[in-house]
Amino acid sequence: MAFDQMIAAGTVAKVIAAWVGNVAGGSGYGFRRAYEQGQPRRIVMEDHSNFTVGLALKAAAMGLPYLPTFSGLGGDIVRGHPRIRPIDDPFGGPDLLAVGALRPDVAIIHVQRADAQGNAHLWGNLGLTVEAAYAARRTIVICEEVVPEAVIRSDPNRTVIPGFLVSAVVEEPGGALPSSVQGYWRRDFEPFLAYHRTSRTPEGFQAWLREWVLDLPDRPAYLQHMGQAAVARLRVSDRRLAAEANFAP
């Protein structure tokens, strides 16, 4: 949905993605208008599968020009693709595809907690977060809480992004809403449905953009606009704590 919102706002020239839509409804109307009609501007689309976009980031994260795969052979995504090319297996096996490295200018990721140096603890749904953070030229970590470094060092296996990769740390509770953050926020499904309805027309999208982006100066204003009841309903207050792990030497 975030892709769709940025595309519909006219801020996107090119999309590199495996899927652009709305988890609630399938189609992203902003994406469709841009792709089908060039409204509000034409976009260039680089289609991927989840694995090939993951391998593109992973290659950059590993400092490699490409990684090989055989996912996508026989299909149209890889045909004439600017970043995916057929290669011979140097060890004599069947044909492969090379997926070229993708190095984002900036990755913005949301985690549960980080220290002031950007050492970040993240748990739950990982997806491509770690690959993106490693691949990007600059990584901005948004966290629910900035914590003392002792908290991070108490559980170093949970540090998925070391601080020296991080350009900036932002403490912004609720910054991922309406998406969930394990242990902090539940998913708010209604905004996904509402956005799907309202973004069906350009006018509906403009109204959404005004209400939820342009008229709100910052995230606290966003949470206030959601309303206390919604915030209270979505905030996780119960505890499902992991067992302790003994790191004693």
Binding site: A17, A18, W19, V20, G21, V23, A24, G26, S27, G28, F31, R32, Y35, E36, D47, H48, S49, N50, F51, T52, G54, L55, K58, T69, F70, S71, G72, L73, G74, G75, D76, I77, P94, W123, G124, N125, L126, G127, L128, T129, V130, E131, S179, S180, Q182, G183, R186, R187, F189, F192, V236, R240
Partner: protein, 249 residues
């Protein structure tokens, strides 16, 4: 006891029957997610489920989820890896069966979820997500589709998820479950395995945009048992995925 059931509940049961005990399953959302849970609760207690965001589960989430990243899908998981990790397991050949859906299908089991001009105008669809990878890399795939003439095409406009093609390394489409019946695709053509109760061969021919051979008296898809319905209604209490209000439900 004879219970009333929706077309989608029947499809969930058909999906569950595609899973054998102890198999590793690439799950996905919607009907396959419910089918996986149902298979676990009945004939396949030791099946393991992989989700493309990195989650590995051997029992369904305790509460309803809209997306695989929702917090209840993390709680009680066996592992939370990254996308590249589970896709790597898929590429390695560790996944027995994967479920995918599409907007269009052809007789070879090629699926299109990228773009189509079947209605005359260009329509952009959300894209592959993980479907292209599952189609390429799983031991076999089960396709789930709405059965409509515009979706069942002699040739799809774009092959997002490859079906049967010469030189395929492994797997390919095995079964197609639609709103009208269950079809065997394993031989590289569409053969009726069963039609849902009340569906006539004529209905299927009319809803299929390519020639299809059907016996005069094909077998009927097995109807859900009371236990199976009880499970589905426990897992989808509001009928969000399986209710009558869903299209063609």
């Amino acid at each position: 006891m004879t219970s009333r059931y929706t077309r989608r509940e029947l499809m969930v049961v058909a999906a569950a029957r595609e899973i054998r005990d102890r198999e590793v399953v690439f799950v996905g959302m919607r009907l396959p997610l419910l089918g996986f849970g149902l298979a676990k609760a009945t004939h396949a207690p030791d099946a393991v489920g992989l989700f493309e965001n990195g989650v590995i589960r051997d029992r369904p989430a305790e509460t309803f989820i809209y997306t695989m990243g929702d917090p209840p899908n993390i709680v009680g998981a066996v592992a939370c890896l990254g996308l590249v990790d589970v896709m790597s397991l898929l590429q390695q050949g560790r996944v027995d069966v994967g479920f995918i859906g599409g907007a269009e299908v052809d007789p070879l089991g090629n699926l299109n979820t990228t773009r189509t001009s079947s209605s005359g105008a260009l329509t952009r669809l959300p894209g592959s997500g993980g479907a292209g990878d599952i189609a390429s890399l799983a031991g076999r795939t089960v396709l789930i589709m709405e059965h409509e003439p515009r979706r069942f095409r002699e040739r799809v406009d774009y092959i997002t998820s490859p079906g049967h093609f010469p030189g395929r390394r492994r797997g390919g489409p095995a079964t197609l479950i639609t709103t009208l019946g269950v079809f065997d695709l394993s031989a590289g053509r569409v053969r009726v395995a069963s039609l849902h109760p009340g569906v006539t061969p004529e209905q299927v021919r009319e809803a299929t945009g390519f020639p299809i051979t059907i016996d005069d008296h094909p077998p009927a898809t097995a109807t859900p048992s009371a236990d199976e319905l009880a499970y589905i209604r426990h897992a989808d209490p509001e009928g969000f995925w399986t209710g009558d209000s869903m299209k063609s439900g």
